[in-house]
Symmetry: C4
Subunit: 260 residues, 4 copies
């Protein structure tokens, strides 16, 4: 049973994974559709029945998973164990406590279970390149976020002082929200500078902000280029010491000097 | 006849292509202008006459193409064969079925026929580099789209819960539309968070989203650099020392001076 | 006189350039300020006097330039000759023809004259790297613009059909304007999809559009990297044939095989 | 005392820095919260008491810093000395001059003091790579800003002429503000073209603008790649064959196998 539920090398395991994938996607779709007023009024009953089928199915699966692992507690407290629990908890809770209706949206987190199933996908290597690039640039991104956050706090305060409550900038946090909306070039327009000095400061922030925001793109590009290069590396292992990862033009092992 | 219609090496074929190009561009322009209320009222008659000329012309061309190929059915069911058919079908259908007036906009797909004619352009090689880069990064882009889609679903649900119908987030799909508008930094402002927690979550999404969206740019940059390098590299190896990677205009090895 | 006006190696020439730079910047500032209602009412007289001083100054300079070159007609019909003429023409015309008041804004083109003076700047080399990169990627950018334009036409038509006049999409050109605003992630919000299918199509366009617009960034990055590398290249010339531009690790000339 | 306040190698110095960090962050948070109307009404008294504690604390720290350095004047006139003074001045001034209440927002600049404390952070090296990249591309960025500014002035004037006051473009500076908002793809929508020629010109500006704004991203990517490479490269040359550019962990030359 363990190989069917947790692995995907056997035909049965693969069939189980595909079935689970469909169940997850359909149950998330059901949650989405239920949130639409007009659909809830017309097909509410059908969706609720479907929802209970999914809840029973996922509960069954959760119990099977608990039974088929050697250390159930370790599984239950792991990230995917908690996600599995979250997938069934809201429906069960809404039955016990009628006031928890608003918690039903939490069921959309079932979507995260897709990632467990997708472990079987062939393009995990690609995701790995992306993650390697992001992880390698972690420190640069923290430095960058610090610079962005400082700019946001200072520019938000400046605009609060310059524009004032009359133009919608009624507190520093509100000004900071405006600064984020502006620096990321989202620009909803729900808050926008009205006075001449405010528009001048905003223009400077936009142009500077564009320069600042070129940095993460640059970081990711450089790290991605390195991660790609590392994946494209020579498959030869040194016959002397077994070291791998040589440059493509290497003729001697860089560790022991043996001819490759 | 086949060489005139399908090839463009002969003067006649080239003239045919240029004429066709103009006919396509003018017919698309006519469709556009007809959609403008004030122009339709004033010059509607003239545009409709022009439209019928183009339809007759394209029908004639379609029949000629069918006649001049060896296997007409294969052509008719190919991508460009269908586009050629779509270019004349709406006008003909609107004659038979008066209710199909709204289908006339489909005629704008005639624009796709331009790409068939542009096959003759000298810069196809450049398009090839771009396509190679995009195709090579296909798997990375799928992984990336999966991450974006999950974020959109989860953030859309969160905002539906936090902001609620009162602020315009009246269903999860609506929240997902907002999340896409925000993450891509389009930011129409037709939907924007009004509550303080909503604005805080939106700020986090924007900054995180900017980081996530640096990824496709990085992917395309890296792949484009590789595709450019592959197009520019010389396959020759030096007969003297075996060095590879010479410039395309090199006649001697840069390491040992041997004639290549 | 020619060396003072056209060159900037002599102290007199440099002083002339700096003075001209200030005159240009101040006159453009005057045009800007005159366009502001409240300033025009209060200081209109002073600005108009200043404007006439600048016009007289620029006219004098234009006449001097004409006199000091050998072939005045060639100068007058060159790009910078026309810009010099455009700098004085609107003011003179507004004197002769009172109806041409609205042409006065053209005087802002005086700003282009700054680039003539800035020829002396030390960082022209940097501008050269940028221009080399942009020129090298010209063909790729044309291909890219073709793809963007096709997407804009087709998506504009689709939204005209889906949303219709009731939601502001009252013609195909209007829909194309919306598509440009959306694909470039500007997102004013003056036009935004209101129907559910419209919002779905717009979401797809935004995510796809973001991918497409990663392409110019990638193109510019790659070309910039190449242009930078070419500027960083080895200064050695081959003693045999005089060829320059060798790789940094080259020991033999790649054209004649001579030792470098 | 000097080592405790200015260095962070000793346990006491580290404790001092961590305490100061918390004081700074909390005092900035207090300034932010005080700016929110509802919180000021409810907890105004508590926040003001807290504020005075921080002011006394920072004043004490400022005096201690002045006493513990050899040349107090040099410290007081340095960048961080001025920031330290700015952190306490507004509160003191608001006591003396009741009309200076609006200056209290300046206290948010205390945030800059965080950077002094963060000097201890281990990821200063990363910030150094980023700064090296930005500094190396300074000249390119100036050229780029010049091009952007010229485009902004000219497009702002064109839109002022084309759209006019009736559509909100009531002066050239206002038009320039619109041009910045559009070119940086922020797009608030508080000003947007209403006429057909205006929308056409805006569309061209957006697409061109997107191309122009790909330049800073490209610049930063290239410089970042170079700065990263310079930080990662090994200065050793092989004693046998003279090859350079070895990996940092290499012990043998990859070409001839010699010990490095």
């Amino acid at each position: 049973m363990h190989t069917i539920i947790f692995e995907s090398d056997t035909p049965a395991g693969r069939a189980f994974d595909v079935g689970l994938l469909w169940a997850i996607v359909l149950s998330v779709l059901a949650v989405m559709l239920e949130s639409v007023e007009s659909i809830r009024v017309q097909h509410g009953q059908a969706i609720r029945v479907l929802e209970w089928c999914f809840t029973v199915l996922f509960t069954l699966e959760y119990v099977l998973r608990l039974l088929s692992v050697n250390r159930p507690l370790l599984y239950a407290s792991s990230f995917f164990g908690l996600v599995d629990l979250l997938a069934i908890l809201p429906s069960v809770l809404s039955l016990v406590l009628p006031g928890m209706q608003s918690l039903l949206v939490v069921r959309v987190l079932r979507l995260l279970r897709v990632f467990r199933v997708l472990k079987l996908a062939s393009f995990l290597g690609e995701a790995d390149v992306l993650l390697t690039a992001l992880r390698a640039s972690r420190q640069k991104i923290i430095v960058f976020l610090g610079a962005v956050l400082s700019t946001v706090v200072i520019m938000g305060s400046v605009m609060y002082m310059v524009e004032g409550s009359a133009n919608g900038f009624d507190s520093i946090p509100r000004g900071m929200y405006w600064a984020v909306v502006t620096m990321t070039t989202v620009g909803y327009g729900d808050l926008s500078p009205k006075t001449v000095p405010g528009q001048f400061i905003a223009s400077v922030l936009m142009i500077m902000g564009y320069g600042i925001l070129a940095v993460p793109t640059g970081i990711v590009s450089v790290e991605l280029a390195q991660a790609t290069r590392q994946h494209a590396i020579d498959p030869r292992a040194c016959p002397g010491c077994g070291l791998e990862g040589h440059d493509l033009d290497a003729r001697h092992c860089k560790r022991c000097g043996n001819v490759l």
